[in-house]
């Protein structure tokens, strides 16, 4: 495989990791604990989207459709954009909404009433992670599933001119990730909510005494983190199989991205996520190292960078 191809694969995979890392970093800097349920929040997003996929594929379209829809609507639903049916984008939004609702409910039912220290919250989040996964297994079983959107071919002109296989879905994943990341940057830097989030991450006590209602900021943090994680989960489900453990299996990579970037720094998480994703995919370019060691290579890259910069790439900055 050409190096350019590996770079392209790295960028696509990095997108998923970046989307996961940001929320983990936000919760660390504002909520003040390492959230072990964050990987499972990604899975919730993927399954939220799967609900729409099942609804469309099994109930509206297909040979055994339960609800009969007019051919015009059926055709509209099957219209593809970037080789994805239009309903997939609705499914993406539903996945994001499902994760946002679930984390807000969790905040009110679990974290807020506990009102305890960061170690206790970390341990609690392991329980929350197990509960999320159990919920998915109860609802969907543990068999791997897909969105049923079929396979996507490569973009011809790119493979002809550059010799690189890029699918339209890769473009969607990277483009939507870029939009979300830029949107988050604009929110953090140029809106009052963003400044309040940065202030709360910097010094929650001072934020409180300044008159910032930090409870509302924590809710915003949960929603933003969950929405991004869910998008990452949905894109991951597009590339791999959708399973209840899919998010949990990403957790180690996401944690390493956040630590590499400088724990608590959102921009660090973006850079860390990119680095880890690239290292993961670029393993194939290394001599004598099989791709089965891709996670190990990513972790070695993390360790090496931390040896040089022990606080991570942007370790001195919060949010």
């Amino acid at each position: 495989m050409s190096t350019l191809q590996l770079v392209v694969n790295g960028i696509v995979y990095s997108s998923v990791i970046v989307l996961g890392s940001i929320g983990l970093s936000l919760v660390y800097s504002i909520g003040n604990f390492a959230n072990f349920a964050h990987g499972d929040t990604m899975a919730i997003g993927a399954f939220g989207a799967l609900v729409v996929a099942i609804g469309v594929n099994d109930y509206l379209l297909g040979p055994e459709a339960v609800v009969s829809v007019s051919p015009t609507i059926a055709a509209a639903l099957e219209t593809t954009v970037f080789s994805l049916p239009i309903w997939f984008f609705v499914a993406l939004l539903v996945g994001m909404a499902a994760a946002a609702i679930l984390v807000v409910v969790t905040e009110f039912l679990v974290y807020r009433p506990l009102d305890t220290g960061s170690i206790e919250l970390l341990i609690t989040s392991i329980g929350v992670a197990l509960a999320y996964r159990a919920l998915l297994i109860l609802g969907f079983g543990s068999d791997p599933q897909t969105y049923g959107v079929g396979r996507s071919g490569r973009i011809d002109w790119v493979s002809e001119s550059l010799g690189v296989a890029i699918t339209p879905r890769d473009v969607v994943t990277v483009a939507i990730t870029a939009i979300l990341v830029v949107g988050l940057h604009l929110l953090l830097q140029y809106t009052t909510l963003g400044r309040k989030m940065r202030a709360t991450a910097d010094n929650a006590d001072l934020a409180r005494v300044s008159g910032i209602r930090t409870g509302e900021i924590i809710l915003a943090m949960w929603v933003i983190g969950a929405v991004l994680a869910a998008a990452g989960g949905v894109f991951l489900g597009l590339d791999t199989l959708i399973r209840p453990r899919m998010g949990f299996e990403m957790l180690l990579l996401i944690f390493s991205a956040v630590i590499l970037g400088g724990i608590g720094s959102v921009y660090g998480a973006m850079l860390g996520g990119f680095t880890i994703g690239m290292a993961f995919e670029m393993t194939a370019a290394l001599p004598f190292v099989g791709t089965q060691y891709n996670a190990a290579v990513a972790f070695i890259v993390m360790i090496v960078i931390l040896l040089v910069r022990p606080t991570g790439i942007l370790g001195d900055d919060t949010t």
């Binding site: 001072l206 409180r208 910032i212």
Partner: protein
């Protein structure tokens, strides 16, 4: 008119104190720090709390500002009970608080720090920021710099200004001179005086007891969570017993 009154004669007499703590017990978790504490702040005053380390001076401010809930007793603002009221609400009721340490947002710019101080303003923050820039030109000069790059004295000016964004009637200041070089301490106290001259009543905790009392109208000496002495600041400075026990002779 007694000698005691002379020191505060330029103050408007008021019917009730702006801030009052009566019979307050308070503390952290199981540990009691304040024991039947009584003190008050009249409109326009600077009141200084002095006392040895661990006397409960900062705890008084935290209890007054809703960061700690009083176990017993009452905390009132203009006669209204505020014990345990959320700081975010107190800020909207005209109370400001400048913590002793970590009193700026280090990774936010100076201007953003001021914006955060004014989040509860309904009329926007720009005019107020302009006023504070006029008063403290160093802030305008460094408006885009991150607060972490400021010197200790500049940081203290920013910490005050952040609290002043809401134009509070009552300002609680925890050890404004802590960790600052003696040459800067003078400036900091001058700023406290300026803020007071503009009509803000100030309750200040100060380890630097002589300097703190010298700019104050009244003072309280706290020891083991309760008030040992209470007097006009000049009288406390002249009190041989207070001087010996609490002012280093």
């Amino acid at each position: 008119m007694s000698a005691d009154d002379a020191a505060i004669v330029h103050r408007e007499p008021t019917e009730e104190p702006v801030l009052s703590l009566s019979g307050v017990d308070s503390g952290y978790g199981e540990m009691q720090v304040l024991d039947d504490l009584n003190l008050h702040l009249e409109a326009g005053e600077i009141v200084c709390l002095i006392g040895p380390n661990g006397a409960g001076k900062s705890t008084v401010l935290k209890t007054a500002f809703g960061l700690l809930e009083p176990w017993t007793g009452s905390v009132t603002l203009r006669g209204e009970e505020i014990g345990g009221t959320e700081p975010a609400d107190l800020v909207r009721m005209g109370v400001g608080y400048v913590p002793q340490t970590d009193n700026v947002f280090p990774s936010l710019s100076i201007e953003e720090n001021l914006q955060m101080g004014g989040v509860a303003r309904e009329d926007g923050v720009d005019d107020r920021i302009a006023e504070l820039y006029d008063r403290f030109p160093i802030l305008e000069e460094k408006r885009a710099a991150k607060a972490r790059t400021l010197s200790g004295g500049q940081r203290q000016v920013l910490a005050f200004s952040r609290a002043l964004m809401m134009e509070p009637d009552v300002l609680l200041i925890d050890e404004p001179s802590a960790g600052l070089a003696p040459s800067i301490v003078e400036d900091v106290f001058k700023n406290v005086r300026t803020v007071n001259d503009l009509g803000t009543s100030i309750l200040m905790v100060e380890q630097n007891a002589r300097e703190g009392l010298s700019i104050s109208d009244r003072g309280y000496v706290l020891d083991q969570g309760t008030v040992r002495y209470e007097d006009v600041a000049d009288e406390l400075l002249d009190n041989p017993e207070v001087s010996k026990l609490y002012l280093g002779g």
